[in-house]
C-alpha cells in the first residue's frame, strides 16, 4: 500500500470483498468506509498546511520585527513596488482560486469536461501570475535592488535625482532597504516556488481528469490539491498588503 492515490489492484479488491467492504476502486482496505478515507485525507492535508503556516510564519515574524526597527527603509522600499501589478496579481490569484473551487464542484457532480476546463484555467492564471512576478523581479534586477554586493542605494539617498517624491534617507537607513528587499524576495520567492510546485501537480491532475479518474466519485486528489492551492492564495493575501501597501500616502 504505497499511496492512497494509487489505484487498488484486483487482489486488494478481492480482499476487501471478503471483509464485506464496499469495493470502490479508490477505497483502500485499511479504511472502514470511503467516507472515513476521505476525512482522514482532509485531516492529513490540513496537518500539512499547518506546518506550512509555521514555515511562512517564521518569515512573517522576521518581517514584523524588521519593519518596526527600520520602518523608513521599509516604506521607501515598498513604494518602489508596483501597486498596479501587485493588485492585478492579487485578483489573478483570487480568480484562479475561484476556478479551482468550481473545479472541485465539477468533480463532485461528475462533470468531466468542466473539471478539465477549470483545472486548465487555474493553470493558465497561475502562469500569468508567475510571468508578472518575473517582470517585477527583472525590474528589480535592472535597478540593482537585489540585496548583495551590487545593491545600489542611490535611489533612496537621493530620490529627487530619480524624480521620486520621497524624503531622502540617511545612508545607514538607506542600507536597510536591503533588509526589505531580502524579505521581499524571500517571501514572494517561496510563494512563487509553492506556485511552481502547484503548477507541476496540476500538470499531473489534468491528464488524469481527462481520463475521467476524478469524475466517478473519487474526488480526493482534486479536493486536497484545491486546499493547497487556496492556501497559497491566502499566503499571498497577506504578502500583498504587507509588502506593497506599507505606506502609500504622501509622507509628510
Amino acid at each position: 500500500m504505497d499511496s492512497a492515490l494509487a489505484t487498488t489492484d484486483p487482489a486488494d479488491l478481492h480482499a476487501e470483498q471478503e471483509h464485506g467492504h464496499v469495493s470502490l476502486p479508490q477505497h483502500r482496505h485499511h479504511f472502514e468506509t470511503v467516507e472515513q478515507q476521505r476525512e482522514a485525507g482532509s485531516f492529513g492535508m490540513w496537518l500539512f498546511l499547518l506546518t506550512e503556516i509555521m514555515f511562512f510564519g517564521g518569515m512573517f515574524l522576521a518581517y514584523l520585527l524588521y519593519r518596526n526597527w527600520y520602518y523608513p527603509a521599509f516604506v521607501v522600499g515598498s513604494n518602489q513596488l508596483s501597486v498596479r501589478i501587485g493588485t492585478f496579481n492579487t485578483m489573478v490569484l483570487i480568480t484562479s482560486g475561484f476556478c479551482m473551487a468550481i473545479g472541485v464542484w465539477a468533480a463532485e457532480v461528475r462533470r468531466r469536461s468542466l473539471l478539465v476546463a477549470m483545472l486548465v484555467t487555474t493553470t493558465l492564471l497561475g502562469v500569468l501570475f508567475l510571468s508578472l512576478k518575473y517582470d517585477e523581479y527583472h525590474e528589480k534586477y535592472e535597478l540593482h535592488h537585489i540585496p548583495g554586493n551590487n545593491f545600489n542605494v542611490s535611489m533612496f539617498t537621493n530620490p529627487a535625482g530619480y524624480g521620486i517624491k520621497e524624503a531622502p534617507l540617511p545612508p545607514d537607513m538607506a542600507q536597510k532597504t536591503q533588509v526589505f528587499f531580502f524579505l521581499y524576495f524571500a517571501m514572494t520567492g517561496m510563494h512563487a516556488l509553492h506556485m511552481i510546485i502547484g503548477l507541476g501537480i496540476l500538470c499531473w491532475l489534468i491528464p488524469r481528469a481527462r481520463r475521467g479518474d476524478f469524475s466517478a466519485g473519487y474526488v480526493a486528489p482534486v479536493e486536497n490539491f484545491a486546499l493547497y492551492w487556496h492556501f497559497i492564495d491566502v499566503v499571498w493575501l497577506f504578502l500583498y498588503p504587507l509588502l506593497y501597501l506599507i505606506n502609500r500616502h504622501p509622507m509628510h
Binding site: E39, M54, L61, T87, F98, E108, H230
Partner: protein, 111 residues
C-alpha cells in the same frame, strides 16, 4: 444540506456530513474576496496613521478566514478538523507573541 440531527453520526467529532458547495456560493465568496482586495488597496492611500497597518492586517485576516471557511470547506468539516485548524493557528500566534515579547523586553527602559 443534509439534516445532521437525523444522522446516526450527528455527534461524532471525527465525522461531518459531506456537503457540496454550489457554484453560486463560491461566486459570492469570490466577489467578497475581490471587494476586500479593492478595499485594502484603497485604504492604503488614505493617511490613517497607525490604523493603516491594523486595517491592512484586519482585511487580510478576514479574507483568509473567508477563504479557509468556504473555499477550503473548513466550515463544513468535522469538529476534529476544525479544532485542529484552530489549534494550529493559535500555536502560531503563541510563538509570535513569545518571540515579540522577548525582543520588546530585551532593552526595556533603554529606548
Amino acid at each position: 444540506m443534509t439534516d445532521q440531527a437525523t444522522h446516526a453520526h450527528a455527534n461524532d467529532p471525527e465525522h461531518a456530513e459531506h456537503r457540496i458547495v454550489t457554484p453560486l456560493q463560491y461566486f459570492f465568496v469570490y466577489i467578497a474576496m475581490l471587494a476586500l482586495t479593492a478595499l485594502t488597496c484603497a485604504a492604503a492611500f488614505v493617511d490613517l496613521k497607525w490604523a493603516n497597518a491594523v486595517i491592512a492586517v484586519g482585511i487580510a485576516c478576514t479574507q483568509a478566514a473567508i477563504g479557509a471557511l468556504f473555499f477550503m470547506h473548513a466550515a463544513f468539516q468535522s469538529r476534529l478538523i476544525k479544532l485542529t485548524i484552530g489549534a494550529g493557528v493559535f500555536m502560531f500566534l503563541v510563538m509570535v507573541t513569545m518571540t515579540m515579547s522577548d525582543y520588546i523586553s530585551r532593552s526595556w527602559g533603554m529606548w
